[in-house]
Point group: C6
Chain length 264, copies 6
């Protein structure tokens, strides 16, 4: 009955694309050349799976700090791939599932994927799927083993090709679990390190503020910063009806204890 109770939240999305869109939330800003280049590289890999008959299995791990935009990028690439079978395995779907039923569900996603000629599975927030916690390094070994076997096994049918995306903000933990090495490809998602990156985001989000004001805000913004934290900070600085200023921006950083956030 626990699982029944939870299913409510799952039926929210009308289509697969709706669900993916909810992870992207609007258009991705190309805030710098690193970001643009790696997005292109990923698109090439998707094309390889689509075209090369020899590539029966391709697994890609996106690693980056919390809030760097991993989930959004993976979801965006999935949307653009137009693969007939796309599935996102995310922790919130398995809230309260037992270890075993989680393994069953994950296995089922892969078994279903083998039935489609081209399929893409996203394993989002892998350390959360594993219920990993640094204290005593606890996690679900059953889920880990299931994932390890699933992303190593090529589709056992003819003419089937499978692409797997994984996201993690603890690549070292995954490495210690020997999970990271199983992925064929590793992509590192960077934080925003330069004020021009911040400016790019500011100018996309807030069109009413003058360029000069935006520049002074960008210059006081703590860096490196994740795109997620930056967007939240902009929302906070906006709230008091008045126009956003660099003073207000700095105040928010301080009052809300954001300097100590691990992504700053």
């Amino acid at each position: 009955h626990f699982e029944k109770a939870l299913s409510e939240a799952e039926i929210v999305f009308g289509s697969q694309d709706d669900e993916l869109n909810s992870f992207v939330r609007g258009n991705l800003v190309e805030w710098g050349s690193e970001f643009s280049k790696l997005k292109k590289t990923c698109t090439e890999l998707v094309t390889q799976v689509q075209r090369s008959e020899k590539t029966k299995l391709m697994s890609v791990l996106f690693e980056g700090s919390s809030g760097s935009g991993k989930t959004a990028l993976a979801a965006q690439l999935a949307l653009e791939s137009k693969f007939p079978y796309i599935k996102i395995i995310s922790p919130e779907k398995y809230l309260g599932h037992s270890e075993t039923s989680k393994c069953v569900a994950i296995t089922k996603v892969f078994d279903d994927a083998y039935k489609s000629p081209l399929s893409l599975v996203i394993l989002d927030d892998i350390e959360r799927l594993l219920e990993y916690v640094p204290i005593n390094k606890r996690f679900s070994n059953a889920v880990l083993q299931t994932i390890m076997v699933c992303i190593k096994r090529a589709p056992p049918y003819e003419n089937r090709r499978l692409m797997v995306f994984g996201t993690t903000s603890s690549p070292d933990v995954l490495s210690e679990m020997t999970l990271k090495d199983i992925f064929n490809v590793n992509i590192k998602i960077p934080l925003l390190t330069q004020s021009k990156h911040v400016l790019k985001v500011l100018s996309t989000v807030d069109e009413k503020v003058s360029t000069q004001d935006l520049e002074s805000i960008a210059s006081v913004c703590p860096r490196p910063i994740g795109i997620k934290q930056l967007l939240m900070l902009i929302e906070m600085a906006h709230v008091s009806d008045k126009q956003m200023t660099s003073k207000r921006f700095e105040e928010c950083v301080q009052n809300y204890g954001l300097q100590s956030k691990n992504s700053f």
Copy 2:
């Protein structure tokens, strides 16, 4: 039947506000400028959630020593917010619940919250909810994972906004669990460090004593001290029918072994 037996205690409160009031117990004394400033900051955050459509999720962690007034402040802010859906998840409600049924209950509170346009959930005494104990660093990982997913997930419905308050007196433990970083905002609740803070509380509570007497009491009061311990000390010093004196006050500190309390 255990859970049935326990439910007796739960039906005590007539309304949501009654329950919240039981955590505040009377008016909060504004004993110093730090306290007043942080209360204002919190009120602003509540306003942001209320107004900004982009802020679908805002989570705030109140950290401070035991007895510093975290629970009372969170409850007071909730009362003032007038949000249509307010729920407090506190350890005493889950006395004797199994790990699983605790997870179910917590998930249900959040699922219900998504149905209200504006909702506020208080996770009180998080380390107690996790059944954390420093010896061998034991705790319920299932509850931790449930909380981590719940406070990271924005409402999956349109036009729903969720505010989450958490309280803890062990922020370092939460940080080691990677739970602290998931909160968007951190607010630190201070202890009373100056004798004028103590005096403010004394003069509000005990109107019959002369200012001079109160000052001499305030000067002997061990510091820093939590508002909770100070109020208890005042009650003890009062008991012998006679007027409270600084000698009686000091005696209580000693006889009851209060110097060694960790909040002094």
Copy 3:
């Protein structure tokens, strides 16, 4: 059926007072001024709960070496309080209970207490209730969490006041569990450190021996010593029909390996 089998032993006592008396066993000897003073302090706390309407909850921890007389003192204070509801939660009552049924039972004692205007609960031998053992620091976290929540929660009803006594001979362990800090008051029960303390006990127990003999016995008695061990030693020294002598007393200490007892 295990619990049924055990219940036999429980129905032994006719009334609540009979049970409490069985923990006191006769009158408490006031063997020194430290003991007399702390007994008075405790009585004052009982009076505070009885009279002050603000004090809804008062918890007191008695800590002291094994055999120092903690349980006897707590039971004696309870007897003298004349509170309408008095309950002693002691390890022998829960022999063979499962962790869960122990938690249920403890919770029930507190739930019942909330129904009485004035109630007193004794948690005797807390480390035994927790099934604590120093090897690998094992203990029942479920029982610990139940106790922590129960002694922190004020009665949720109007006009109810609750007093809690706890006894422990491992205060450092309780401190490491963050349980000790939850108690409002700490009382330390001392051992008998001076020969005049021993003499006071000897003269109360053994009226037939001459004062000079008692003095010579008191001078050879190993110190510090717990009241419990002293009373046992006196019984042993008595057994051979003849009058007790200091030689016989010393012999007992040696033959029975009592020097190495941790309370000496």
Copy 4:
């Protein structure tokens, strides 16, 4: 059904005395003055329980190397006490019992003991009852807690007196478990350290060998040695029909790898 299967072995003994005798096996040799003195001390304690009305509970721990004769002495004292209720709790009786059913059984022995005016319970080989193993210091905490509570609790009825004997060859482990301190009295059983001790045993067991031969055997016997190992060695040296010689005795020590035995 496991327990049923095992019960066969239990119905072997006709009476309580038969069972006790099986642990003594013949008369105890008084092989030295230490042994004689401690046996007398123990007899006095039995008398105290028998006579002193105040001594409701007396617990004695026999500690000594493996094979030093602890079980035999405890059983012999029990036989001589003539108490109406005598019960031996030994590991072989609980072979294959679950932790819980072991706790039930132990509790029942004590509950039954309270019904007799004078009773004696032997807890034989306590570390084996606890299923203790030094690797990772594993043991049954449930059994430990049951034992700790049972030997601390005085009979809850009027006019009942209880004596408890425990035996152990790992007193340090019991001490680390805080179990050793709960016993009122500690008795240390020594090994045979002098050649005259060995001679005493040899001359009692083997009457046909000349005194001179026995002396030369005694002089080659490795020491210190437990009475149990000595008796086994004598049996081995005897086997070849011929008279036992010191050469044959030494050969046995070597061929059978007995030098390395921990009791030598």
Copy 5:
């Protein structure tokens, strides 16, 4: 039902040979003399089991880095052996099986093997079968013990001979488990260490590219490299329709984060 759900994937293969072929995928390239020599050695061992009546049991462990070609070699040898009973025990077959049902299944494979005069069992990816993870060195001891007993026990019937192949990329872990020593023979599978090894593979796979181009590609290929990683790299470098060049080859190594792969 979990196991039922999974069985779908298992019925994929029409015959035993089909399944083995799926692990080989095409012909094995003899890329160097080390490889050719060890393949010959293995073939001799197969012949010994086939011919020598005394050799009732022969177990061979293939160890090598991830992607070195262990599974493919074991499967190829099995195909060539033409033994009447061949079975591959691989982790993907036991996805989601409980520990116990895995043990049952493994035992059954061996029990069935005893019924055939000549049989061959492959234990593929042993650390995965054991669900081994380096963090806290967790694994299924039940599966380990089952495997240890199965590969040590000769067929209990007359005229039965059994060959066992194991593959592992963590020989040190297996050694620490005392599992490695139970195998009669150890075969180490090397990585490709010289550019002529790479060239041999390139020229077999890609017949259209000129020898000179292949040589320049071989010279930029990171080494040592596993055959599996090399084949994947070639596929990636091919994807853009155009002819593969050494520049494109190097780009792939960098963009896809392949330098850090543990097999390079």
Copy 6:
């Protein structure tokens, strides 16, 4: 049903002697004087149990490297003893049994033994019976405790005598478990350390090769070596139809990775 499935393998042997013979496999070669002497010592112990009425229980532990011939020797001695009740408890019999059912089975073997006037129980490969693994020193404590009690308890009936043989290649582990000390006698089985030992085995097994050739083979054989590894090596060297030479012998050692085997 798992246990049913497994029982198939057990019904293989027609008689007790058939089973024992399967562990001996042919005649034992007396390859050196150490071996001959210790076999004689063991035979004497068997005789002692047969004849001495006082020796109700005799336990002997055979320790030696893996492949040194422990199991074969124990089985051979059992065959020669002609005791009416002989039982071998070996790991392969308990494949897949639960911990509990293993304990039941072991206890039953001993209970049955008590019913025979003379009985002999072999506990083969004790660390495997305990499912011991060095990683984190895991093992079944339930099985260990059962074994410890069973081999310490003399038959509870009159006129019954019991002999116990244990074999182990990890005596240090058994010692750490305090299991080794419970055995009355320790016998160490040596490896073959001299070339004349190897020669003795070669000449017994291979009668067609000239003495000179055997000598040159013996001289290249790695030493010390277990009898089991030596016999396997001879089989391998034989396989190619041609006569065995020292060159072929050395090749086998190298190709099969046998130098690194722990028994060399």
